[in-house]
């Protein structure tokens, strides 16, 4: 994609460059469904990484779920994790690559169901990693089944009569749970529901990334997102739904900001991999 700018046209009075697509965002058509929020969140992440000059240092972990192909859109080093294990994979990277910027990008099934143990313990250890947690309340890729974050009463392909607390339990506010842990430097929840909220979400992602850069512990941003296809709504309806019942269940805002003072055992590392083994015996 090429933007016509005053520099490129060289003519006075031509459009002035006020923004351009970050280079770290790949030029390719999306595999995400029409109206899906992943694209917005990818874009925000690309902007933040670029603004903080991080792409060349980033090692990112892709989840299992719709965002499994995140590496198709973000031109940074990526490793694919088994379903839910991204925080463990990120821990391994962090512990041998102290200089890297380490990122996970996970959905709600990945982070709040199958990967609960991994996210809780990465947070408890205060791992110096940043988790981008996309909560759309559904398993999108497998056909719209109930997720741990699915709202009470919400119909999905595996809760066809609506989520019934007596049978299926309650939605998990996992970001609030994680915020309890002293190793968590930053935990916040934003939304992609409108332009103003998107701006706020970007500020949260930037703060979370900065904390890692400055040596702080675990940081997490939950992005409330939509799934028009899985929810059985138009894109516009899904955004209205996001602003209504979804936000009622998952309030927006910064839940905890302990800054860089939070524990970060991954921050201090002396040994670089590849250094020859010492003569100890």
């Amino acid at each position: 994609m090429t933007l016509r700018t005053s520099e490129s046209t060289g003519r006075a009075g031509a459009p002035r460059l006020i923004y351009r697509k970050p280079d770290v965002l790949a030029d390719r058509s999306t595999h995400y469904c029409p109206g899906c929020g992943h694209g917005i969140i990818h874009r925000l992440l690309a902007e933040v990484l670029t603004e903080l000059d991080l792409p060349a240092h980033t090692i990112a972990v892709a989840p299992v779920g719709c965002a499994v192909f995140a590496y198709d859109y973000l031109n940074v080093d990526f490793v694919e994790a088994p379903h839910g294990r991204a925080p463990a994979v990120a821990t391994g990277i962090r512990r041998v690559r102290p200089e890297a910027f380490v990122l996970t990008y996970q959905g709600d099934g990945d982070l709040a169901a199958i990967g609960t143990a991994e996210i809780v313990h990465a947070a408890a250890r205060g791992e110096r990693i940043t988790a981008i947690f996309v909560n759309n309340g559904i398993y999108g890729m497998t056909g719209g089944q109930m997720a741990p974050t699915t709202l009470l009463g919400q119909r999905t392909t595996s809760s066809p009569n609506g989520r019934d607390a007596a049978l299926m339990g309650y939605p998990i506010q996992i970001t609030e749970m994680l915020a309890q842990l002293p190793g968590v430097a930053y935990a916040a929840r934003g939304s992609i529901a409108d332009a103003s909220l998107i701006g706020k979400l970007k500020a949260m992602i930037k703060r979370a990334c900065l904390i890692q850069v400055e040596g702080g512990g675990f940081s997490l941003v939950e992005a409330l997102s939509n799934c028009p296809v899985g929810w059985g709504m138009t894109a516009q309806e899904s955004l209205e739904h996001l602003k209504g019942p979804v936000v009622d269940a998952y309030p927006l805002g910064v839940i905890v900001d302990r800054g860089v003072g939070a524990a970060a055992p991954g921050a201090v590392r002396a040994h670089a991999p590849g250094a020859p083994a010492g003569p100890e015996a």
Partner: protein, 424 residues
């Protein structure tokens, strides 16, 4: 036959190092851990489980001392995936567990095999199934050699029979892992993990290579991706074909085995790990009782030394597989032997170890059976010759399918002929 131990251990250490050799008493788990450290292990991830806990504990003390990474994970799932992350950056990574924990690691192993991520995993086997018990066992042979997790993949499996050999094989394991971009398993049982033996403090650190696949941050180069997913079947098939080519190369180049007393052996014990130690004692006892026994010891369980064992089987009266299981490796033994001689089995389960006397008993039973069969063969041959002399046509040759006793009989007869022909 080339010296298999030479091929197993690679180049000998330089003289200066040899001079510094000394023997100390070390526990298996600790010796394995230290050997990994000396082989340049950058990171260790584990979770407590008996009988491998000392390995984790050794690493907990030593790795931070050396400024290297140690994490006690929240589970074996956590440990293997931490290993995936660290290994994806090109670090030399060790993970260890025991049987139930290894089951949990199957998922990660499959991803690492699929994405070509090198890593060494030690399984200090205990008795199963389920929670089973904490006694030594070899009942994870199928799991280790037949794929472990989901998908079409293999993992090189190294099975030392002593603590000293385990130490040597740790360096070999890292070498294989990095050469072939694959997880490698070192398979020991609870005895090798828990026992103490005098060992030489002789270590080897495989040379470091630059990896053109490692994730280090995409500075000045295109971004790299380590993944196993490919939703286009044609592309995924190509990926799989490349994997299979790699496995074919490993099968061709990396088979390791050892033999003892095979020169004049008529009865061959096939055993690995602790079972091989028992077999070694049984051979002495059997020879004292007039049974010429020898040992064939696979060191790589995958790739299994099939061709080498087949050669041995051509000259053996019978083979007896000895395992700390219900009989798992014996299936690979039968596949290798292909009916060339009878194959017997002796094993104990539940954390028990066969005694040398038990093995000698099994050997004597096999010996008696083979002798009776050979006697019958001789009688039948004489009968046929007599019939031929009397002008009667001989019975059509019976073709027996499968490992029925008849098949053994035919083979045993044919073999006796070979031996009389002086091919040995």
């Amino acid at each position: 036959m080339t010296d298999p131990l030479e091929s197993a251990t690679g180049p000998r250490p330089p003289q200066a190092e040899t001079d510094r050799r000394s023997r100390v008493l070390m526990k298996g788990n600790e010796a394995i851990a230290e050997a990994a450290i000396q082989a340049g292990c950058d990171a260790y991830f584990g979770y407590p489980i008996t009988p491998q806990a000392e390995l984790l504990e050794w690493m907990a003390r030593r790795m931070p001392e050396l400024g290297r990474a140690f994490v006690q994970a929240e589970s074996e799932l956590g440990a293997i995936n931490m290993a995936l992350g660290a290994a994806a950056t090109g670090a030399r990574v060790l993970v260890s567990s025991s049987s139930p924990g290894i089951s949990l690691m199957a998922e990660g192993m499959s991803y690492m095999a699929g994405s070509g991520t090198p890593m060494v995993l030690v399984n200090v086997m205990r008795a199963g199934p389920g929670l089973g018990g904490i006694g030594p066992s070899q009942s994870d042979y199928f799991q280790a050699t037949k794929g472990h997790g989901h998908g079409d993949y293999r993992v090189p499996v190294l099975a030392p029979a002593s603590i000293g050999e385990a130490m040597e094989l740790m360096a070999t394991a890292f070498e294989l892992a990095e050469r072939y971009r694959t997880p490698v398993m070192v398979l020991v049982d609870g005895i090798l993990g828990q026992a103490m033996e005098p060992v030489e403090l002789r270590f080897r650190c495989p040379e470091r290579r630059a990896f053109d696949w490692a994730l280090t941050g995409a500075a000045g180069r295109p971004a790299r991706i380590i993944k196993s997913i490919d939703l286009v079947p044609e592309v995924l098939e190509k990926r799989n074909a490349a994997l299979q080519r790699k496995y074919a190369e490993i099968s061709r180049r990396e088979v390791r085995w050892a033999t003892e007393c095979l020169e004049d052996a008529e009865y061959v014990l096939v055993a690995y790990g602790t079972a091989a130690r028992v077999a070694r004692s049984a051979i002495e006892k059997a020879r004292a009782r007039g049974i010429k026994a020898g040992l064939f010891r696979p060191i790589t369980l995958w790739p299994f030394p099939s061709r080498e064992l087949a050669r041995v089987a051509r000259h053996a009266h019978a083979i007896l597989a000895v395992e700390l299981s219900s009989g798992q490796m014996v299936e690979d033994v039968r596949l290798a032997v292909e009916g060339r001689c009878p194959v017997g089995f002796h094993g104990r389960m539940g954390g028990l170890v066969p005694t040398p006397d038990e093995v000698v008993g099994a050997l004597k039973a096999l010996h008696g059976k083979v002798e009776r069969t050979r006697e019958r063969d001789r009688e039948q041959q004489q009968k046929r010759q007599a019939e031929r002399r009397n002008g009667q046509s001989p019975h059509p040759h019976a073709v027996v399918d499968g490992p029925a006793e008849g098949a053994h009989r035919v083979e045993a007869g044919a073999q006796a002929g070979t031996r009389e022909g002086g091919e040995r």
